[in-house]
């Protein structure tokens, strides 16, 4: 790599990087947990997971090969089916963002910088050492970042996501890409995908999806959980053992059900209900949701690739043989996606509209990371559409730097006040 650094310097960077990272995690977690009264008991599990975010959990990765992914378009079922575990490594850490800045143009999106920083320093969730890092060809910055990762001699693999998802051509192309991906997975893990292993994987993920959908139903019913917690729950799906995650979400759901019966709600009765969309909030970068809720708003639905877009959609297999199961899995990772990398992307507008309906949303807050071109470009289209539904929108451009708290607070306060007045 051009910016090659001496071994010494690397070690120093790694050391300070991980210290900063740990501090960031502690600090942000405290913001999320301590500033809010009466968090659900079952959330403790998730808080703990983040507490040990970097040290990882030995049992879930022990003796397993890990396939890292950088996007929601990587079919998890296939990774489980070759006996490996997927971990999504898209990073939200400012400490890593600063490392990434060393290699990438200044105006790059912080998510990309942060992820590259983490790959470079080998500071990944759970301290994993992936056998493959799958980089889907979505936005240009990710694509190019992947190329640099390759120069760092990391095992990067480009998954060719088509630029559109509406045509049959794109679908066929994607099916072929996935077929090749299966071969690659089989060769790096040494395991073959079998009818049985894939069926098991599909069902395992479906269980998680069913539980997640139940979670959403509960959120729809009553304001029982803060958005900041909901985001943490989905965010844990990145790296948690999936069966345990499902179990824990189920426990949380049970608790929330009880809370609904007892009418223990979060926020105030007149808290403006917010839909969040745009560039994804990924722990530890939780500043936007936390701030909104500190200021008296309530995030009720997130249309993010770190939340609903990642887990919601399901696999439907017609004939339970590999020849139909693999394309079925492939379809699930293409057709329902509302990633702005696809053109046209009317489905995203429709999904937001449905979110507004279902969750009785009062206002939409659209987050764009500075440097994220796709979300920035779609913001106008989405904004106009949302306004046409009679819902006000606030656009926030932000990054991982905690410095803009003051400015964000002012803007959010004004927006939330205007929503309150409308109510």
């Amino acid at each position: 790599m051009q910016h090659s650094v001496s071994k010494d310097r690397f070690e120093r960077m790694r050391k300070t990087g991980s210290i900063h990272y740990s501090m960031e995690i502690k600090k942000n977690l405290a913001e999320i947990v301590d500033k809010f009264p009466d968090n659900p008991k079952s959330m403790q599990y998730f808080y703990d997971r983040y507490e040990h975010f970097l040290s990882g959990d030995d049992s879930s990765f022990k003796g397993k090969k890990v396939v890292a992914s950088m996007c929601i378009h990587v079919p998890l079922e296939l990774i489980y089916a070759v006996g490996a575990v997927p971990v999504r490594i898209c990073a939200g850490a400012y400490a890593m963002d600063q490392i990434g800045t060393e290699f990438l143009p200044a105006k790059t999106c912080p998510l990309v910088k942060s992820t590259l920083g983490a790959i470079y320093l080998d500071i990944l969730p759970g301290n994993i050492d992936p056998v493959l890092i799958v980089n889907p060809a979505t936005c240009d910055q990710k694509k190019k970042m992947g190329e640099m990762g390759e120069e760092l001699s990391k095992p990067l693999y480009l998954l060719e996501v088509p630029p559109t998802k509406d045509t049959e051509e794109a679908r066929r192309y994607w099916h072929r890409v996935i077929k090749r991906f299966v071969k690659k997975l089989e060769s790096v893990t040494g395991n073959k995908i079998t009818r049985r292993s894939l069926k098991r994987a599909i069902k395992m993920v479906a269980k998680a999806q069913a539980e997640y959908r139940r979670f959403n139903q509960l959120r729809k019913t009553a304001p029982v959980i803060y958005g900041k917690d909901a985001i943490l729950v989905t965010n844990a799906y990145f790296f948690d053992d999936i069966e345990r995650w499902t179990q824990k979400v189920s426990e949380l759901n049970d608790e929330l059900e009880k809370r609904i019966e007892q009418k223990i709600y979060v926020g105030k009765p007149h808290s403006p209900r917010i839909l969040l969309t745009g560039s994804p909030s990924i722990f530890p970068n939780m500043k936007l949701p936390v701030l909104i809720e500190e200021l008296g708003g309530l995030v009720v639905y997130e249309e993010f690739c770190s939340t609903s877009r990642m887990i919601w959609d399901t696999v439907a297999v017609d004939e339970w043989f590999l020849y139909d199961m693999i394309p079925a899995v492939a379809d699930r990772y293409l057709k329902p996606s509302t990633c702005p990398n696809f053109t046209p992307n009317n489905d995203r507008k429709r999904k937001i509209a449905k979110g507004i309906e279902d969750f009785s949303v009062d206002g939409v807050i659209y987050q764009t990371f500075s440097g994220c071109q796709l979300y920035d470009m779609e913001s106008r289209m989405v904004g106009n559409f949302v306004e046409s539904m009679g819902i006000s929108t606030l656009f926030i451009e932000s990054d991982y730097n905690p410095d803009d708290f003051g400015q964000l607070t002012t803007r959010l306060e004004a927006f939330l006040d205007s929503l309150k007045n409308k109510k």
Partner: protein, 337 residues
């Protein structure tokens, strides 16, 4: 009421359909042995060449009634035809295209062939859905010919010579039902090549060819014959007034494509179309597999008039496609089999 509704929405319609198909197959193939007589002008292949048939297919009536000079067609015989058409429509509107999905003996046989292929673990062939869509016109052409040829036997069109009498009931001559269904009553007499003259040789050879295509086609492509079926074309003309309906609420659709990927007819519009309410298209056989596969609450509905009888639900989806559906536990990990 809500419990009943939930029970139905969680049900496995495909399994239900499988049993209904067996029953209706017995009914339409052996009915007359049970002294059942349903009637004439049925909107399905109740083939009168089969001694067990409890009624007759509307297509044969059409071909007979069209075999008539224009002068009488526009008088009493025309009235006769309208009456037959009326009874066809009456039968049809009751179940709409579910005649295809649940009752047609030819459809059922094709589904059995698919089941057999599935048992053998042989994959289906992948075709571009659009190429089949492009062949959709064939069934309409067959339908038109089925009216025109008998007319051309009885009349001269534009001074051309009349078509030979050997072309009587032209569709029946090539229809696979005429050959297959009698076989179930032990009657093999339809399986032969008629050497009377050139026309009969050509037509009866064509019939054997269609028969072969029927079996081979439906082995590699689900419901292959249905893409070309003139009955389906005729039915579709009246589908809008069907009492049984398949409707969609576009706003609830994520366009995930689950429905179209499980559709035996490979209908893409069921997923893509987010504006129409009525989503029955010309190839649709109202099997409701799409409703089973849709994970969005109340996105696809089966209705009788405006009363919902079966809707897509989250819970139903996960019951049918998920562990709890067939077994509580995930299959064991040792996957080396």
């Amino acid at each position: 009421m809500n419990n009943i509704r939930k029970w139905i929405n969680n049900a496995n319609v495909s399994r239900f359909r499988f049993w209904v198909q067996i029953l209706t197959f017995i009914l339409f193939v052996y009915g007359s042995y049970f002294l059942i007589h349903i009637g004439q002008n049925l909107p399905t292949f109740a083939c009168p060449y089969n001694p067990g048939s409890p009624g007759t297919c509307f297509l044969i009536s059409v071909q007979h009634q069209m075999h008539t000079p224009f002068s009488s067609l526009f008088s009493w015989r025309g009235l006769g035809f309208l009456t037959s058409l009326g009874s066809f429509v009456l039968f049809f509107v009751l179940f709409n295209k579910a005649w295809c999905g649940f009752m047609c003996p030819l459809g059922t046989i094709q589904d059995w062939i698919t089941k057999l292929r599935n048992r053998l673990g042989i994959r289906f062939s992948n075709y571009d859905e659009r190429s089949f869509k492009r062949l959709s016109w064939i069934k309409y052409v067959l339908l038109v010919l089925l009216f025109l040829i008998p007319l051309a036997i009885a009349n001269s069109f534009f001074g051309l010579p009349k078509v030979s009498h050997n072309m009587m009931s032209p569709f029946c001559q090539i229809c696979p039902a005429r050959i297959i269904l009698p076989l179930f009553s032990g009657d093999t007499s339809q399986m032969f090549i008629n050497f009377t003259n050139t026309t009969t040789i050509v037509m009866s050879s064509l019939a054997i060819l269609v028969l072969a295509l029927f079996f081979v086609g439906s082995f590699v492509k689900k419901r292959f014959f249905c893409f070309f079926c003139p009955m389906s074309a005729l039915q579709y003309l009246f589908s809008r007034i069907g009492i049984l309906r398949l409707t969609k609420v576009g706003d609830k659709c994520t366009r995930c494509g689950n429905c179209s990927r499980v559709c035996d007819m490979g209908i893409l519009s069921i997923a893509e179309d987010i504006t129409s309410v009525n989503v029955v298209t010309d190839n649709c056989m109202m099997c409701f597999k799409c409703v089973e596969a849709c994970p969005e609450e109340g996105c696809l509905d089966v209705k009788v008039f405006n009363f919902k009888i079966f809707s897509s639900t989250e819970e139903g989806f996960f019951k049918r496609y998920n562990p709890d559906g067939d077994s509580k536990e995930l299959p064991p990990l040792n996957s080396k089999k």
